[in-house]
Symmetry: C2
């Protein structure tokens, strides 16, 4: 039995240099009122001057870019292989004319990291989504030449208009044709107004615990409603954080579609593929949900053979006890154990077997 972590991020050295050279989100900086740590600011608004220094971004260190730290983390937590991915916000913020070159460079760099890992690492590539669709398609086609790439990681903004944008169709077509899975990951969250005037008192909890999965759910539902999976029946998407909240809300989504006068009038209710069919044939879910209640729902929605273990490393480190095992990782291990309820084959599949099969790992 092998353990595979499919949700684990890396900031390669060239990307860290880029972030250090910037003055607006995303960037890395040391603030005068928190001089002891270099802070990584990636979420919109988390550098608001009214934000307390302890919730302004997050401390950033070698765990983010030093591959020997990644391997040590894997060894400590019994992880055999990891499928690394550039962390958010990926290349979304790169100037359009530089994005194609930036993507080639970072994907080559990540592939090289994997090549030097003695078989421990594979990767999801990043796409130059700020450029034109044809530049993106070209990079998708080039990925086949990179030995360790097993799909691409992507946020929810697409080419800037969301994942229901028809301009994405050539990119979806290229991904489907080249059997490159999309690892769909949140970044932009929700407008901060929804968290109310006391949000700062709660640290990062609201944007991380809710903003991320809610953003994900909206993005996937827009894909569903625009018929992406009716047009691209072989397009595979691995959704972060066990689907945001899709497994829980799929019934309500189906019911709202079935009762919508506007969709009915435009002939959009019959003929489309139901959410449940897409969940079982196109969608994979990571097992990053921190409790068996959510994990059970994810398993019931997509099937135990479509769930894959992940850690979200280097995020959610333990608050104390440098060097100790990570609570966030062990919470997900415990959830998988509880959800499998003694069915060893199910647990083995979620922990690694499914990833090895689906992502064609050696």
């Amino acid at each position: 039995m092998k353990v595979v972590d499919i949700h684990t991020h890396v900031y390669p050295p060239s990307y860290v240099s880029l972030l250090r050279s910037r003055q607006t989100v995303p960037y890395i900086r040391t603030f005068p009122d928190a001089p002891d740590s270099s802070r990584l600011i990636i979420l919109p608004g988390e550098d608001d001057p009214s934000t307390p220094s302890t919730s302004r971004g997050r401390p950033v260190g070698p765990d983010y870019w030093d591959i020997s730290k990644k391997i040590a983390f894997m060894d400590q937590h019994g992880i055999d292989k990891s499928v690394i991915s550039l962390a958010n916000p990926w290349l979304d913020f790169i100037a359009p004319e530089e994005a194609g070159e930036a993507a080639r460079k970072i994907n080559d760099e990540v592939n090289e990291i994997c090549a030097n890992s003695s078989g421990r690492l594979y990767a999801f590539a990043a796409l130059p989504l700020s450029a034109k669709a044809e530049v993106v398609v070209k990079e998708v086609e080039r990925l086949g030449s990179l030995k360790y790439i097993r799909g691409i990681i992507m946020g929810t903004s697409g080419l800037g208009q969301g994942l229901d944008d028809p301009a994405l169709d050539p990119i979806y077509a290229a991904l489907e044709k080249n059997r490159q899975l999309i690892f769909l990951h949140p970044h932009y969250g929700l407008p901060s107004s929804v968290y109310g005037p006391r949000a700062n008192e709660y640290g990062h909890v609201l944007p991380l615990a809710l903003g991320f999965p809610l953003e994900t759910t909206i993005a996937v539902t827009r894909m569903l409603l625009s018929g992406v999976w009716d047009r691209f029946k072989g397009l595979d998407v691995l959704i972060a954080h066990s689907g945001g909240t899709l497994p829980f809300l799929a019934g309500r989504i189906e019911s709202c579609i079935a009762h919508d006068v506007h969709l009915k009038k435009h002939g959009k209710i019959e003929g489309r593929r139901p959410v449940w069919d897409i969940l079982k044939k196109n969608i994979y879910l990571d097992a990053v949900i921190y409790n068996e209640v959510g994990l059970n729902a994810a398993i019931e929605a997509s099937g135990a053979d479509r769930l894959m273990f992940g850690t979200d490393h280097p995020f959610f480190p333990p608050l104390e006890g440098e060097g100790s095992e990570w609570l966030s990782v062990n919470t997900n291990y415990a959830a998988i154990k509880a959800a499998s309820g003694g069915k060893e084959a199910m647990a083995d599949g979620i922990l690694g077997g499914n990833a090895i099969r689906v992502l064609r790992l050696d």
Copy 2:
């Protein structure tokens, strides 16, 4: 075995008159390009001139105010008793100086409707939340004199600043002391920007299927984080739509709290009640989730003895076949049957037994 519907709305005649007299959301009007039906506009933005007439609000008719229609609906669907509630947006939009009187009038009117129902109807009252907290507290205390009132229905805005507003404390205290349960129901949804530029093509699906439960989840999480249930350990809240997405996300919420540097620094991690404890001791969930995957998660999170059947009548009527049974209702019946898996006592509890016990129905 009795079937009790705890999620079913009424617009009493006086409230309908009020809506007909208004020109801004919420209101009732017949539009020139949809002359055949009176439309009810309650959601922000759903009267945008660019909105197609078929998704501008919803047709409104006697099902919304005629109690004989409610009783006929109950008879048709095997419902013995209903706990009716004023539909959103309740009294949130009433001028502050008129709210206290409006609440007394509407609660008396609703109580009278129940008194004339031969034991079929009970009700959740509405609160004058646009007024000062003391006016609200006074109405909470008066509700004990209304024989058929079994709690209050409330949106997510509270006194205008959300449910984590410390100004609500006297109201929470009064509700706890008077054993009046809060039926927490969404209305405001999310800012329309999150649905992207093609949202109008999808009818009401995004705001109804996602906006409502996501709004609910944010509101409840803000209550949790502000310590409402640490201060009011006996405050009971029945959450609409099976908790929004709370059962699915509770693990992630707990994990994000446990890993938050800011909360740690301010001593807010230890000592607080975990989400799971509150889910099992203070929170009740309706069973309005339209599939057993979500319902199973709700049951696992709160316990089968805390789930209660609901219909959301008069919303989600069948699109065709006037007079036929409602698909939305039968979908929820089927989900309860599937989730109970032959355990009759569990199904009976969710269908009615829990509501009879918790709401002290005769």
